[in-house]
Symmetry: C2
Amino acid sequence: MFEMEFFRPLSTGFLSLASDRLIDYLHQTENGLPVTTLLPPEGLRRAYTEGGIPLGLEDDQNAEAPEKLLEAMRLTLQYSTCTSHPLFFNQLYGGPEPAGIAGEWLTVVANTNCHTFEVAPVFTLVETEVLAKLARVIGGPYSDAHDGLFVPGGSIANIYGMHLARNRADPEVKRRGAVGGPHLVAFTSEQAHYSYLKAVALTGLGSDNLIGVACDDSGAMCPAALQEAIMAVKGEGKTPFFVGATAGTTVTGAFDPLEPLAEVCREHGLWLHVDAAWGGAALLSRKLRHHMAGCEQADSLCWNPHKLLGMPLQCSVFLTRHAAILKQTNASGAAYLFQPDKLNAEYDLGDKTIQCGRRPDAFKLWLAWKAYGDAGLERWVDRSAELAEAFARKIEGSKGAFQLVMQEAPFNVCFWWVPPQLRPFRPDQASAADKALLSKVAPAIKEAMQHKGDAMIGFQPLRDAPNFFRIVFAGAKLLKDCCLDDLLHQMDDYGQHLFPAQCNLDAGEI
Amino acid sequence: MFEMEFFRPLSTGFLSLASDRLIDYLHQTENGLPVTTLLPPEGLRRAYTEGGIPLGLEDDQNAEAPEKLLEAMRLTLQYSTCTSHPLFFNQLYGGPEPAGIAGEWLTVVANTNCHTFEVAPVFTLVETEVLAKLARVIGGPYSDAHDGLFVPGGSIANIYGMHLARNRADPEVKRRGAVGGPHLVAFTSEQAHYSYLKAVALTGLGSDNLIGVACDDSGAMCPAALQEAIMAVKGEGKTPFFVGATAGTTVTGAFDPLEPLAEVCREHGLWLHVDAAWGGAALLSRKLRHHMAGCEQADSLCWNPHKLLGMPLQCSVFLTRHAAILKQTNASGAAYLFQPDKLNAEYDLGDKTIQCGRRPDAFKLWLAWKAYGDAGLERWVDRSAELAEAFARKIEGSKGAFQLVMQEAPFNVCFWWVPPQLRPFRPDQASAADKALLSKVAPAIKEAMQHKGDAMIGFQPLRDAPNFFRIVFAGAKLLKDCCLDDLLHQMDDYGQHLFPAQCNLDAGEI
C-alpha cells in the first residue's frame, strides 16, 4: 500500500531526454544561436501559451505530459539569454565550463548539504581541500592558518567579512547586540561593489557608517584618503573597524593597492577584507598575481570562480586567516544537527555558517581544477587578460570611432563609441549637451544588438563619464580573433546609423 | 590567434558520459545501493588515491584525463550519503524529484542570475509566477498584494523576515544603524530553528534580545506565554518588534498556533514571520492546511520546497504581504546593474535582495508543479502524512520495544527503542541512570545501521527526553510498506543485540 509510483509522473528516462537536449543546446551555443531573442514579457507569455504550456501556474493547475515539459524546457532555453554565446559580455560571468557543469549536475543528483560530515562526507573533505589549496595560493599567513566556506555569492561573502570584523571589534555584540555598543564605522572605496551597502543595512551598521573613500583615476582606493577618513572618524569619537577593499572593481576592474591599505589597517587595528570576487583569478597567474600583492595580509577575502573561471553559478569562496573566528561568530550548537555523539561529528562544517543547509559548491571547482591543472587555469586567466589587452589595442586603432574611457585594467576595458561630431571626446571639456548625447549612444547600440541578437555588452555611467561600454572576457566561451573585429564593425555600423554625423540631441532620441 | 579550444580539455561529449552515469546512479538508488558507505576521512582519502585521483589538490596540480574525472565522479557517488535511498530519513530532505532535477540541470546550463530581466527574462517571469501562485495558495491579504524572492535556504529566509521587520519598526536603521536607535527585542519559541539565533547575531540585534517563548508539550509556542514575554520586555522599557513563529518545528514537527499568535502580534504591533520551511507543504493539502490556519495573517513567511517536496537543494521561498518593503529595505540602486535606460528594466528583481547574483531556483519548482499539477502535489503531501501516521501506529503496535516520545505531528514521528528493562519508559519517573542508558541507544543503533548501510535516521535529545529518533518522509523516494516493517525489525534486532536485557550503563558503552 505504500508504493510511491503514483508520485512520480516522470522517470529517470525523462532525465535522459532532458540531458540530451541540454547538451545539444550547449553545442548550438557555439554555432550561431542568437545571444538573446528579445521579447517583452507579454511576448514571452504568448510564446509559452502557443507552445501549449503557459508560463502561469493556474489556480487549478493540471499535470502536464512529459512532452509538454520538454517543450517548456526547449522554450526556456530558446528565450533565455545565452550566456555561453561567444559575444555575451554583459556580465562578469559567461559560459559555464563542462567539468563545472558535470560537477554541478552531480551535486544536484547527490542532493545533500555541507552541514554535517555524515550526510556529505566527500563534499565536506572536498570543500576543505579546495579551501586549503586556495589558502596556499594566497600564501603568507594563510599557509599557516585559515578557515573558510563556499557561500551563496560574493555579496554574502562580503557580508561575512563585515560580520566577522564586527565580532572581533566588539566581542559582546553577538550577545548584547549593537545597541549599547561602540559606534562602529566601516570604509570602502567609492567604486566598491554595492554589496557593502547591503551589508551595512543587514548588519544594522547603517549606511551613515559606511564611508566611501576617494579613488584615483583608475578607480583604485587612495591609501592617503583612507588614512584621512579614518582620522576624521576617530576625531568624531567613533570607532573605525573595517575596510572593504576591492580587487577588480565591477566597472573599471581596478585593483585597490592592498599593501598600503593593509599597512593603514594595521596601524589602526582595522579588519581588512578584500572583495576579489572578480580579480581574485589573478592569483592563479604568475604574470598577473602582482595585482593581488598584499592580499595575504588581509583578514579575509572573497573570490568567485563562477565569474572569470566559468564555474556554473554559484561558486563563491570566503576565506579568513583567523582560524577560529567563523565558529566564534556563527556557532549556535544546534543539538538536533551537530550531535557530538554521532560519528565523525568533528568534521561538521555547518556550525560556522549563517545558513543551515548549504550547497556543495566546492565540488565543481574541485573537478574543474583536476581537469585543467594549475597550468590550465593559469593559461585561462592569462588568456582573459590577453583578450582584454588585444581588445583595447583594437579600440585605440579605431581612428577615433571608439575611445577608451581610461587605460584598461587587466580584465576590463571601458570604452565609448563616439558620434563623429564629438571626436575626440574629452569629458573635462565636453558640454552638457555633448554628454547628454553621448549618454544615449551605449543604450541605443546595445538595444540594437539585443534586437538583432548578435551581442550583449553592458554599459553604465560612472562619475562624470556618460554611459560607456564595459567589456570583460569571462567564462569558458569559444572566441575567435575575428569575432572581436566583427563586433567592433557591427557596433560602428549601428553607431553610424543611429547617430549620423549631423545628429543632435533630438535625433539621438530613438 | 584567439581560439579558445586550449581552455577546454573537456567537450560536451564528456557531459554525455557524465549524465549517463548520473542517471544510472539514480536507477541504482532504487535497487539496493547502501544508504551510506561509512568511511572515516582517511579511508575516503585512500579510496580516491587508489582510484588514481587523490582528494587533495596538489601544490603543482596536473591536469587529469577525462577517464580520471569520471572515476572521481563515480567515487563521489559511491561514497556520498545516498539521500535518494528509500531508508534515508536523516534530514528534512530526501531524494530529488526528476522534474526538479531536469529543471535544475537546465538552470546550470543556462547559467545566469535572476538579478535583471535582460539576462534572465524567462526565469524572472517564472519566479514572479511561482510566487504569485504561492501567494494565492496562502490566500487572505496575500491574494491582494505580496512580494517575495527565492533565497539560498530557510535560514536566510528567516534572516529576511527579521531584517524587514526591523526596518519597519525602525525606518531610520538603514541609514543611522542600530546604535542610537530603539532597543529592539525579538521572540521565538524555545523549539524554533537555530537560524533565528544566527539572525540576531548577523543583524546585530544580539542573542540577549531574542526571547525563547515557552512551548506546550507538543513543541508549539504558547500564545499566553508570548503575551507575558512581550509585557515583560515592555516593562523593561525595550521595544518588542518581531515574532518568529514556526510551522513544523525541526524536531517534533509542531505547528505554532498562528491565529492566536497573529492576534497577539496585532495587539502589540509586532511583525509576525512564520518559518514554514518544513510544514509549509501542508498548504497544498485540503486535509492538512488547517495546520497553517492564520498564516495568511503573517507579515512574512518562508517555505522550502526542497524539503518535503523533493526539489533539489536549494529551493526556498520568502514571501511577504507588504509589497514595497523588500525594495525599501534592500535597494541600493547600483548604477552599473540596474540601469533605468536599458530595456525592460522595470522587471528587474535584483535590487530587492541582499545578494547580487541569485540562482533561478524557482524554475525547477515551476517545472515540477507543471508535472504534478495541484492534485499531484496534494497527493504527495498527504502521502507524507499518511506514512507518518502509519509509522506511528506501527510503533504503538510494537509491544513496548518502540515507544512514541509524544503524539506524532502531521509529518514527524519521534520515538525510542527502549531496552527491555526500561519498558515502559516514563521520562518523568526515570532515574538519571536510566536516562543515561537510554541516551546511548539511538546513537548506537544509528551507528550500527550506518556501518551496515541499511538506513539513516536522525536522533537528538530534547529538554528532558534522552536521545530519540525522529523519522520524516521527505523527498521523492520510492518506499514500500514492507520497508518500514523491515526497518523496525532491523532496529529491534540491533537494539536487542547492543542492549541485552541485563545490560547496565557500562555494558551500554559500546
